[in-house]
Amino acid sequence: MTSRTTRITIQMASVTALAVVAVLAIVIARGTGPSAQAATGQISLAPGPRLVARSTASDSTGRLVSVSAGDPAGKRTVSSLSCARVYAAGGTGLCLRLDSGLTTYQLAVLDAHLETVREIPLVGVPNRARVSPSGRMVAWTVFVTGDSYNGGRFSTRAGILDTRTQELIPTLEDWAVTVDGKPHQARDLNFWGVTFTADDRHFYATMTTAGHRYLVLADMTTHHLTALMDNVECPSLSPDGTRIAFKSARGGDPAHGWRLSVLDLATRHVTALAETRSVDDQAAWIDTRTVAYAVSRGRGHSDVWKVPADGTGTPRILIPDAESPAALGTTTQEAQ
């Protein structure tokens, strides 16, 4: 009987100790959130010589920040807006975020003054955001997964909103697909990484089917997708519309990481960029010669790096302690 009592005592004491550890972990974590006192300032998404990004600095985690294009590593303006992923172009911003209940996600379309003009509930974890150069079309990618019972399957789907007509395209899965010049019927289509052309009618994206990761060109008016090349992920169209920066799985296998590369659309020539680390991001062009992308620096922190788009040079830090970069200046250059 005493051994039984001893065992119960040991059990109770240990469980109590474990409970204390768990509570302590939660209490300590509570103190580490971004402080409410982080200096906030006005940010404009209007075209101009500035870059916006998502801060990963401890005092402003998740905040949308703005830096000068001339001195991107210099003083940053921190807004009061928190997002998981951001992008902006042509005076329109896109903020993907977790809603306050922590169970669902939403996409907020922002005007040039960071005012929310439309909120769209998202199903699945959002992970890519893009705005067309004119600011009219916005696109996002969500990642849908079940739980451990679904056998490790997942799907990604891309959605598009026309901010002028308010037409919403929740998924591309029912669009007509052409692969190798032939109609392609498949149920296993997944899409991500949309990038728009300047005409607001076409866009490029990644489509996976049967183990291939294709670069597709889509037509918004005919709802048609054409596969152009294999092993191209997360395309990003250059401001002049001639090249696509993308990540390609090393040796065709994502398990070996991704190499950042640039595809010349006219010649189909692919140039591997000077960045040799694995880049798992949709690159953003900061001008017609340079692409920017985030590289993780341990848990929850990353830096935005830049590298020349022609394979020369070396990668350099563009914005320290940030990710999700968007240059507000490229669209004006292009319009001229």
Binding site: R7, I8, I10, Q11, S14, V15, L18, A19, V21, A22, A25, I26, I28, A29, R30, T32, G33, P34, T61, G62, R85, L98, L102, T103, T104, V123, V125, P126, N127, F143, V144, T145, G146, D147, S148, Y149, N150, G151, G152, R153, F154, T156, R157, A186, R187, D188, W192, A210, E233, C234, P254, A255, D280, D281, A294, S296, G298, R299, G300, S302
Partner: protein
């Protein structure tokens, strides 16, 4: 060689009701159920937030997540067999189970330590799954050694019900922790993983302190040899059993597919996806113990075959043109009932056919055969879906299930059933 049952003197397996259940299945099964409940809370609270953590906090792409998630099968299957044999060889089922639970518990802390390094995260996830592979056969063997043979079905039913309760509570606990911290910063996830570790450690402790490996009631120490373990495969009843397990695996196309088919035909918002698993689990949880008891009373083979009936109903409903929420509810009910009638019942059916000194190895074989067949089946279904379309693929699944139930009925027929009468 037949029915090496451990005949304990408590022949009170006919009493009904919850109190009777507790008395019938015994303290050891309840202790093991508690261990599984806590472990599942711990595991599911992590599983529920892992996509969120990988994609929003670590900013990894879905492809990277897919790589993480795809890491398993082969190694775990082998480890399960090795674990089963080692548990039998040294008659240390509890120790092997504890090692499995311990590895999975430590993996929760590993998630914190791994930071954002993909290889490290991959290693942690493999370790977690290895732990899961290692522990299930010894744990099920402990269950079989804890109760008299006539109430095995009920014992497994109670254990599986407690297990799914944990799977329910896990995601809620995760949301609770994130809500308490108030953000989804990396620190919040660290707190969540530490909490998950604490829950798993409490489960491990419960195993160590409350669960017993009934070594005293095992046969005298004739050391188990590898040859004897391989000899298992030559015994006709065991072969039939493995055949039944393989067929069960082949007939199952995978939960993900069932839910996806439901989503497609009903054009339901994808947000319902996780809720489908919840619905299936709820039915499973409610029916596991009653169906286990029913199996003890009216024959485990009968209940197992009835479970196939529920699965065939699922496939037929999925390929039928009937619209409406009622179909969704019916599919989830049938699917939950299928699990409740087959999962624990197969183990209860298997145990008496396996000699006690090789039971863990035998159960590990059954589980491995089922898992591998399921792997083949879900891959084949994915291929059929892509090439033939959903309707034809579902019809093919229904035909497979009908064939499986017919062959299972034939294979298990003529076995003098171990009814509790």
């Amino acid at each position: 060689m037949y029915l090496s049952t451990i005949d304990r003197s408590r022949g009170d397996g006919t009493r009904r009701g919850p109190r009777a259940t507790a008395a019938t299945v015994g303290a050891n099964v309840l202790a093991l159920g508690t261990v599984s409940l806590l472990t599942d809370v711990s595991a599911e609270m992590v599983t529920a937030v892992l996509p969120l953590y990988f994609i929003l906090t670590l900013q990894l792409s879905p492809a990277a997540y897919g790589l993480m998630d795809g890491l398993y099968t082969g190694a775990t299957a082998l480890l399960r067999l090795v674990g089963g044999y080692v548990a039998d060889r040294f008659r240390r089922r509890k120790t092997v189970a504890a090692a499995g639970y311990g590895i999975s518990a430590l993996a929760k802390l590993g998630l914190v330590a791994a930071g954002s390094s993909l290889p490290a995260l991959g290693a942690v996830i493999v370790a977690d799954r290895a732990g899961k592979g290692l522990r299930s056969a010894p744990r099920d063997a402990l269950i079989t050694l804890s109760v008299p043979e006539p109430v095995l079905g009920q014992a497994f039913g109670v254990h599986r019900a407690m297990d799914s309760m944990g799977a329910f509570a896990g995601p809620l606990a995760a949301l609770g922790v994130l809500a308490a911290v108030g953000t989804t910063s990396p620190a919040a996830f660290s707190a969540l993983f530490v909490t998950s570790f604490c829950v798993a450690a409490a489960g491990l402790l419960t195993l160590a302190v409350c669960a017993r490996d009934r070594r005293d009631e095992q046969p005298a120490a004739i050391p188990v040899r590898l040859k004897a373990a391989l000899g298992l495969l030559h015994a006709a009843p065991v072969r039939r059993l493995l055949c039944a397990a393989g067929l069960l695996g082949l007939a199952t196309v995978g939960d993900g597919f069932v839910y996806l088919l439901l989503l497609r035909r009903e054009a339901v918002s994808t947000g319902w996806f996780p809720l489908m698993a919840v619905g299936t689990n709820l039915v499973y949880l409610l029916l596991a113990a009653p169906l286990g008891a029913l199996a003890d009373r009216h024959g485990r083979r009968t209940v197992l075959l009835a479970g196939y009936g529920a699965l065939i109903a699922v496939y037929l409903l999925l390929s039928s043109p009937l619209p409406g929420t009622a179909v969704v509810v019916a599919v989830l009910c049938c699917y939950g009932a299928f699990y409740a009638a087959t999962d624990g019942v197969l183990m209860a059916l298997a145990s008496p056919l396996l000699p006690a000194d090789l039971r863990t190895t035998g159960l590990a074989c059954v589980q491995t055969v089922q898992a591998l067949a399921y792997f083949v089946s879900s891959a084949a279904f994915g291929l059929a879906w892509t090439t033939w379309g959903t309707t034809a693929a579902t019809a093919a699944a229904a035909v497979t299930a009908v064939l499986a139930v017919t062959v299972t009925a034939a294979v298990l027929a003529g076995r003098p059933q171990q009814e509790a009468a």
